[in-house]
């Protein structure tokens, strides 16, 4: 008779890129990685691949950085253009 048990080969739940990293409106470099270099618009969830909470946090932080004068709005800061690619954008 088969015994009922939890799937022993279950993989741990997939983590998004920012899982465990504290998102702050002050670290502009991290936030700029989720912004388009040409227009400066924030990438959507289907591009960044973040979980609900983190996407919301990042959006809020980016908006805050815009208002407080930390991050440019219409473009991406040129010194951060050579950062590694996190989002799966196709240029």
């Amino acid at each position: 008779q088969p015994i009922q048990m939890e799937n022993p080969y279950k993989e741990p739940p997939k983590k998004c890129v920012l899982c465990g990293i504290n998102v702050d409106y002050k670290n502009v470099q991290l936030l700029s990685q989720f912004v388009s270099p040409h227009t400066g618009c924030i990438y959507g969830r289907h591009i960044t691949g973040l979980c609900n909470k983190k996407q919301k946090e990042v959006t809020k932080a980016i908006k805050r950085a815009h208002v407080l004068g930390f991050m440019p709005v219409m473009f991406k800061n040129p010194s951060f253009l050579t950062d590694p690619k996190i989002c799966n954008v196709k240029y």
Binding site: P12, P13, K15, K26
Partner: protein, 118 residues
């Protein structure tokens, strides 16, 4: 007393005098200043026009406060009249609790679709 982190940034010259003025004003209203951080002086991401002047460079400062919430409106008013302060905000102290991030839970799309068919 709830903790705020108060952030404002201003022009480069006369920095010490402006800082002193604001901190004294804060102490007057009965706030406890915990920490004062200088986030450096850098060129602003966009030109800001304030008080009939166009600014391109500014010094960023961050003050950690503890005080009653009634300070907020009075301080915003007070700093709005200060020519040397370009932008001012009060932000609630960020309580960082990111150790419970459990990862992406796979959403079962079948259930949502079949339930809607009723």
């Amino acid at each position: 007393f709830p903790t705020f982190s108060f952030f404002f940034f201003l022009l480069k010259p006369e920095t010490a005098a402006v800082l002193k003025r604001t901190v004294e004003a804060l102490m007057e209203r009965g706030a406890v200043v915990r920490n004062l951080e200088n986030l450096g002086e850098r060129s602003l991401p966009y030109k800001i026009s304030k008080h009939k002047e166009r600014h391109r460079r500014g010094g960023y400062f961050l003050i950690d406060l503890e005080g009653p919430p009634s300070i907020v409106s009075t301080m915003m008013d007070h700093l709005g009249r200060d020519i040397d302060v370009i932008r001012r905000t009060f932000i609630k102290h960020p309580v960082s609790k990111t150790e419970e991030c459990s990862g992406i839970i796979p959403v079962n799309y079948e259930d949502t679709l079949i339930a809607k068919k009723k």
